[in-house]
């Protein structure tokens, strides 16, 4: 970017560094998909029927899509946002009717040889519409009403995706909370309260209600002792304690009475409350073994026994990180995490340099969605979050996922390349 002329392409300044990170992830993804489905009996075989064969087509078409996005006028995306949103909502309804059941989720529309997953594209449409709506309000003081409307835009697809029983994809939309935070609809205090309540939620599930209540009581008692001269603080501490305690009871109640048994089991496995390496914990156990056995330097390309011999399920899609962990070791994992973190921080920086609120909000949306996928996907393979079936952006096998993330990213890059053109 030091030389503006070199970057003048597609009518603007494309952020080539981000493009490079994107390309890197796609290529790394391809190699690891190859390793994941590699059959040592036919090492020389390259077939278009294999996952890595198909993935090379997906990557190639993703490049064409990326090019097309950069060519299309940026204004199109903002004006088409409501239409796109409406379209995906329709598709989400359609998928409920005609969807094919894959892996317990009814979220795929079969189209010949190919299956379309509307929920992948719902993220994009939601991001665009949310950006458009919030940007129209950006010069005014944020109101609760705006927050509600914005939240409804994000929650409508959540409901529809939940109806497909695709909990993982539904949860992704909650990551947009950071967008509201950045735009001032949610204060830091509430974010903190939200964060703490999630922490309390996890702790409650991990240790049951009573130890948590007792711990809360001790903390409160300690606070009361410190602030014993100030009655107001004591009163609010007491109120807080009551609220927290009630919350803990509610969590326990929901956990015991609302959640399905299999959901409960999954949570228990992650929390280490039950040790079940052959049952519900099988995926997680094998995944951790794969990653852990990679050790510092990894076993080497195509040498991972866990992935090569199919011990890890879904290893080219949701569990692709296992292949990386096993064959490339800690070093390889650091490279991947480094690339993602660089990409995420870069996107935030790109967001902040946009002149329009629309582009900024959209870019934040992109960052939030990518971050959530990154954190949850890797987190589940290493056993720090429950197993939620969402792909690792650009790395996991799958056309819908690769295309939707590519579109998501390149629309942002298009806005960015145009940032000096639009006033």
């Amino acid at each position: 970017m030091s030389n503006p002329n070199r970057n003048r392409l597609f009518g603007g300044h494309v952020d080539w560094f981000t493009v490079l990170l994107w390309l890197l992830l796609c290529i790394i993804g391809w190699f690891n998909i190859h390793a994941a489905v590699f059959d040592p009996e036919y090492p020389g075989l390259f077939s278009m029927n294999t996952n890595y064969g198909k993935q090379s087509i997906y990557i190639f078409s993703a490049m064409i899509i990326a090019l097309a996005i950069l060519i299309v006028d940026a204004k199109f995306y903002s004006s088409a946002a409501p239409l796109l949103y409406a379209l995906t909502i329709v598709l989400l309804v359609v998928v409920l009717a005609v969807g094919r059941n894959v892996g317990g989720n009814q979220s795929w529309i079969p189209m010949g040889n190919f299956r379309l997953q509307p929920s992948e594209f719902a993220k994009l449409a939601t991001c665009l519409l949310l950006a458009r709506y919030l940007s129209t309000q950006s010069n005014k003081t944020p109101t609760f009403r705006n927050l509600l409307v914005g939240a409804s835009i994000a929650l409508l697809p959540v409901v529809l995706v939940l109806l497909q029983r695709d909990t993982g994809s539904a949860l992704v939309f909650f990551s947009l909370v950071f967008v509201f935070y950045r735009e001032g609809y949610i204060s830091g205090q509430w974010m903190l309260i939200g964060g703490l309540s999630i922490l309390l939620f996890v702790l409650t599930l991990a240790f049951n209600q009573w130890p948590i209540i007792i711990a809360l009581a001790i903390v409160t008692g300690f606070g009361i002792y410190i602030f014993r001269k100030r009655r107001k603080v004591i009163a609010s501490l007491a109120v807080l304690f009551v609220i927290a305690a009630t919350y803990v009871f509610c969590v326990e109640f929901v956990y015991q009475n609302v959640l399905q048994p299999h959901q409960r089991t999954r949570i228990d496995v992650v929390l280490g409350k039950i040790d079940d390496p052959r049952g519900e914990g099988y995926n997680l156990n094998q995944s951790i073994i794969a990653i852990g056995s990679g050790q510092f330097w990894g076993k080497g390309y195509l040498q991972g026994t866990q992935t090569k011999f199919n011990f890890v399920p879904e290893q080219s899609t949701d569990f692709i990180f296992c292949t990386i962990g096993e064959e490339w070791g800690f070093v390889g994992c650091m490279v991947i995490i480094g690339i993602y973190l660089t990409l995420l921080l870069r996107i935030v920086n790109i967001a902040e340099r946009q002149r329009t609120a629309f582009a900024r909000i959209y870019a934040y949306g992109v960052a939030c969605i990518l971050f959530f996928h990154f954190a949850i996907n890797i987190g589940m393979t290493i056993g720090i979050v429950p197993i939620i079936g969402i792909p690792l952006p650009f790395l996991s096998y799958g056309g819908s996922s690769l295309w939707s993330f590519t579109i998501l990213l390149f629309i942002m890059l298009k806005f960015d390349s145009n940032r000096k053109g639009i006033v």
Binding site: I289, I291, L344
Partner: protein, 655 residues
Amino acid sequence: MNGLFERKYIIQGIFIAVAVIITARLFYLQVVDDSYLLSANNNVLRKMIIYPARGVILDRNGEVLVQNEPVYDLLVTPREVKNIDTALLCELVGIDMEGFKRRMEKARSYSPYKASQFEKQIPATAYAKLQEHLYKFRGFYVQNRTVRSYPDSIAAQFLGYIQEVNDRDIERSNGFYRPGDYIGASGVESAYEELLRGQRGVKNVMVDVFNRPQGVFADGKYDTLAVAGEGLVSSLDRDLQLLAEKLMHNKIGSVVAIEPSTGEILTFVSSPSYDPNMMVGRERGNNYMKLLHDPYKPMFIRPIQAQYPPGSVFKVVAALIAQQAGVINANTVFHCPGGYRYGGGRAFMRCTHVDGSIPLVPAIQRSCNTYFGYTYARMIDHRGMPSAKAYEHWREAVMKFGIGHPLGIDLPGEKSGLLPSADYYTKRYGNTKWGSSFNISLSIGQGEMGITPLQMANIMAIVANRGFYYRPHLIKAIGEKKIIKPEFTERISAGVDPAYYEPVIEGLSRAVNMPGGTAYSVRIADIEMCGKTGTAQNPHGENHAVFFAFAPRENPKIAIAVFVENAGYGGTWAGPIASMLVEKYLKDTITLPKYIQDRIYNANLLPKLKTTEKKAPDTAGSTQKQASVNRAESNKEENVAFVHHSAVVNRFRHE
């Protein structure tokens, strides 16, 4: 920009924080904790035990007696078994649901995580079908190994059998054996276990999640090869053994033939025998119980475990040691009025003939009781020492002929026979004032004396060698290098000078080759066989027929002892059998008249079973314990075959 711009840092901070948490967790999993590599290896690595081929056993001419045949064991790791089609597995393996559960329970109790045997020795045909479906049965593996196979179905008690190791075997072996391994349990298989078993190899194989083999781990860097067991060359002559077993069919008894110049056992028959192939394969358990409960005791190794009063053969020994002691010589004559009067004339040991004045050679030839009664009296009463001491001298000399102690054959379970010490009689009679008349039946090999057929054949080998023997043995060479155990090349002296043998051998020769000799009917043209018929007293019924011989007289090649239980007079049954075997061995033909041969082949001399003797064996409840009880019983019964000398005396008196 507004103040909200600062929130960028919060958001970026959260991104970084999450990346750090993930990194920390990865650092722990991949760098700090080593256990996952082990788990991953456990997932894919299967240590396949490569069982070595057990050593092959050949006969003395290189004919195969025991070889190996491939079979397949199905192993199971209980924890890995999940959602399998049990019905299909049962069908393929040929078991029922109950059997499936029982096997799984057993495997689980051994270890849920380690592979143990589910079904053993699946034949090659059934295995082919099973293998096609094996990928469906997670947690099941197949391991091939070999089982013993006996082409001629002969020499069962000689070769012995192998069986699965029990807890005690495993404990004693310091972990060499593992559950499911096989160990020689009797016969040569047991005696030469360390040589035959070879060395196990380990192959590290990788398997995928469906347990399908995926090739060798690390190019076989950690694999070890199995080393096949040593081959053994036995002393047995297969053709002779085949003939002997045929001749002994439907008879109870033993045949032992020894090559005198080496101590190699040419024939080793324990009858009734069984097909050694019965002790192999999946029916083994049932067959084993059947054999254990067989009233004729086929598992009893008669040549080394059955003990009989030696009878006539002892007169040979008595003549030799008496000459060596100088109490008689070849010209010593005793008067036989048809019996030996002793104990101050109060008792009488009858002789079968009235021989009048008889010297040593005819005394041997005609088996004169009187002659040996006098000889024994001289040995005990007239040595110028207390009779107890004289008896000990006598006993020592007798023992040098291999009586009263195990010969040290290379088979487990050899019995020593019976030859009481002087103390025994001193204790029995309350003082040392006893003399020859107190145990005169010993003079003719009756009373408190017992020898095994092997010991009898060995006495013949000593006579054939004129004074020495080599320890009788079954294995003449070990392995490629044809090593022979040093203890089998050691020449053991019987303590009697060669010159004293001639009158005895002359007597034995006459018994066979002189018209009127007891074994004249079984003489062999062109071969001077020296031998004698004998009768072993049996208080339970018909006497046992005995024949012992060696041939030819000069440069003997074979010494033989034949026992046929309950067959009565030795010349009728035991003699022809021995004669045929000797001729077969020396000339490879049999000239004995066909009708005699047929009579022997077709004879059924098995004693009628007393129906009240034993309950019918109930197979369901039979246990190892019962089996051992039965074994003990059978031993006891055989021991009862000794006749107390007073009983013998009484019998002679009342006859």
